[in-house]
């Protein structure tokens, strides 16, 4: 389908997210009269994504990466927060409807198999969305065949195949083609290459780079693989237990991270150099339960620099090493009362 116009101009971020929040209520444990427990999956998440950029989202499992993506797609309803797509509020009567937004924002998931209908051929799968949006069948099929070729699958050889007749890497190419069929401007890739073997992952990463140029795309790239995120992203957002702890340009995050969690996460990467193996784990323990996160700074139970102020007050995101680099840590705030806060200035 034809791509929709750039409405806000190049300076307008394609996506602005403000105070996004989702708490999932759980069943009360038996015989327990206390308040109903909630999972604080996403709490006050804010960021903006410039046109043509790639924002990488990292963090340990359960920190809210996928929930953030699903909230943006309106696959789950947010409890609070605003999403502004190219200057227009999504889901407001005077803004963009969810249906209009979904044409412009598409998602690719990790599980390449579960996201494809086993009874549709590859070509039918890719043409499905455009047909549902009113494109004539013949035209949708021709466009689908063209997309197949663009993601590196020969239409003659592949268009009549079913998902089970493809390898994981091929299925992920189909998922990308399907996401592109509606002519979106933003692609959310949630662990989209994580299930692939390294040699195939490299092929798909090359493909994503090519498509970004060809189709003028903007990416939100979610992954637990810190090396891949370093490779592909312009900006990186680090999450911990539903919160953004640090966000900024990729070179700042990988070269001059200020949040103790970001530093620990980066230092936890296995070494690629046999002469420089890791001697000591950067932090101990597992991430705590998001049902009842620690008060104040949620990282304080694993942080080597935690002080009383860290339990008492929640650190706010504030400018770190440079403009556009934000850190949520009391050590970064000279007024916080943290003993090491002076070092930040």
């Amino acid at each position: 389908m034809r791509k929709l116009d750039d409405r806000g101009g190049p300076a307008q971020p394609l996506l602005i997210v403000n105070g996004l929040r989702k708490h999932f209520p759980l069943k009360r444990p038996m015989l327990d009269a206390g308040p109903r427990p909630v999972v604080r999956a996403v709490d006050e998440v804010s960021f903006s994504l410039p046109k043509g950029g790639t924002l990488g989202v990292v963090g340990e499992s359960g920190c809210g990466k996928s929930t953030t993506a699903r909230l943006l797609m309106h696959l789950v309803e947010p409890d609070a927060g605003d999403v502004i797509f190219d200057g227009e509020a999504v889901g407001r009567h005077d803004g963009l409807s969810v249906r209009q937004m979904r044409r412009q924002m598409q998602m690719v998931f990790q599980d390449s198999y579960a996201s494809l209908n086993p009874r549709l051929t590859i070509l039918e799968t890719i043409a499905f969305g455009p047909v549902a949006h009113g494109t004539p069948l013949r035209q949708a099929r021709a466009a689908a065949a063209d997309l197949l070729a663009r993601v590196g699958l020969d239409p003659v050889q592949f268009q009549r195949r079913y998902p089970h007749e493809l390898s994981g890497g091929q299925r992920q190419r189909v998922n990308i083609a399907r996401a592109l069929a509606l002519g979106p401007r933003l692609l959310i890739l949630d662990e989209a290459v994580s299930a692939l073997d390294k040699s195939v992952e490299a092929q798909v990463l090359n493909l994503l780079a090519e498509l970004k140029e060809q189709f003028d795309l903007t990416y939100l790239f979610i992954s637990h693989d810190l090396n891949v995120v370093h490779y592909i992203s312009d900006e990186v957002m680090v999450m911990y237990l539903g919160k953004v702890v640090e966000i900024g340009p990729v070179e700042t995050i990988y070269g001059d991270a200020r949040h103790p969690y970001t530093r620990a996460l980066l230092a936890s990467r296995p070494s690629m150099d046999p002469d420089r193996r890791t001697n000591e784990a950067p932090i101990q323990g597992d991430p705590p339960n998001p049902i009842d996160p620690p008060s104040g700074c949620r990282f304080r139970t694993r942080c080597a620099f935690a002080e009383a102020v860290c339990a008492g007050a929640e650190p706010r995101l504030a400018t770190g090493a440079a403009e556009g680099h934000l850190v949520a840590c009391h050590m970064n705030d000279p007024a916080s009362g943290h003993g090491r806060a002076r070092l930040a200035a």
């Binding site: 195939v200 936890s268 296995p270 950067p282």
Partner: protein, 324 residues
């Protein structure tokens, strides 16, 4: 030193009514006592099947073996099930990606570790319980006595993997088979478990085969590596040599497509295509359809070419590539 484990030309096939899978197609390697061999390879390359073959953990009716697996000089292939269960847990132990493979969800981990000790060491209940507590301390689980009473689902992922290691060490094995035990863990937890395993290996002098698809993980734990492709070991050697000077085109491709930050803005040197189906026994070099150096000589199965200090590459160009 005499090998702890010696595998020669191992072949494993799964036969079914519909189709046959040629999972392992001639694997040979030795493991010295106290050595850590990392087996590196992509999904479906035969890493898990090789490990499971050592312990006889493959479906007995559908699995066909050829070749030899000798543990301390004793041939394991063809051993009856009873002999295997004696060996298992006693001399050879295995840990998995999924702790559910090791732990029964309906019993506490303390009970499961204690039972294993009683069964294999013939000690009394009280002594076994004391040892179970020691084991949890050995794998650095805090408040070990308390934790013995926990059910597997009550523990975090990292804690369960530690408990699984404790269970594997319960009967003082000489050989530990590790099948991606940290793959499902988060980065900050994975490195803790890797360092724990490395420390235990050194302290206890264990021989370890550590299977992984992650080059970084292999670098952290192994002294030697074996790279598998389509059911064969295509390259082996001391870790640093193989990582710095890979000779087999597949090893080179795998290392080149392992992404890191310094590759930013560059197109990745990806290996084209996908691994073969394994529906038929390989004829010639299995990597040929994806290899940019493939030529007529690759139609015959490449021999194991040995060179340097303990290195091997299974490629017809190995001699000239190793010299280059």
């Amino acid at each position: 030193m005499a090998a702890l484990l010696s595998i020669r030309d191992l072949q494993v096939r799964f036969v079914g009514r519909e189709r046959t899978v040629h999972a392992v197609n001639g694997v040979s390697f030795d493991l010295a006592p106290g050595e850590v061999l990392g087996i590196l390879g992509e999904s479906g390359s035969g890493k898990s099947v090789t490990l499971r073959a050592i312990l006889g953990l493959l479906p007995p009716r559908r699995t066909r073996y050829a070749g030899s697996i000798a543990f301390e000089g004793q041939e394991l292939l063809g051993l009856p099930g009873r002999a295997f269960s004696r060996l298992r847990g006693k001399s050879i132990a295995m840990i998995f990606q999924e702790p559910a493979t090791s732990f029964d969800p309906v019993y506490t981990i303390g009970r499961q570790i204690t039972e294993t000790i009683v069964r294999h060491e013939g000690v009394g209940e009280a002594a076994a319980q004391a040892r179970a507590k020691e084991l949890l301390e050995l794998v650095r689980i805090p408040s070990a006595a308390e934790r013995l009473k926990a059910y597997p689902h009550e523990m975090s992922g990292g804690m369960r993997q530690r408990a699984m290691i404790a269970l594997a060490l319960a009967c003082r094995p000489k050989l530990l088979l590790a099948d991606e035990p940290t793959t499902a863990l988060d980065a900050t937890v994975q490195i803790q478990v890797l360092l724990l395993l490395a420390q235990l290996q050194k302290d206890l002098g264990l021989g370890v085969i550590f299977v992984t698809h992650d080059v970084g993980v292999a670098v952290e734990v192994s002294s030697r590596v074996a790279v598998m492709y389509a059911g064969r070991v295509v390259e082996t050697g001391p870790l640093a040599d193989v990582v710095r000077r890979p000779v087999h085109p597949y090893t080179q491709g795998l290392l080149a497509s392992t992404v890191h930050g310094s590759m930013r803005g560059r197109r990745l040197d990806a290996i084209p295509g996908a691994p073969p189906s394994l529906a038929a026994a390989p004829v010639g070099c299995s990597f040929a359809p994806r290899c940019r150096h493939a030529h007529a000589a690759c139609d015959a199965t490449p021999p194991e070419h040995r060179f340097g200090e303990g290195r091997m590459a299974r490629c017809v160009l190995a001699t000239e590539r190793a010299a280059a």
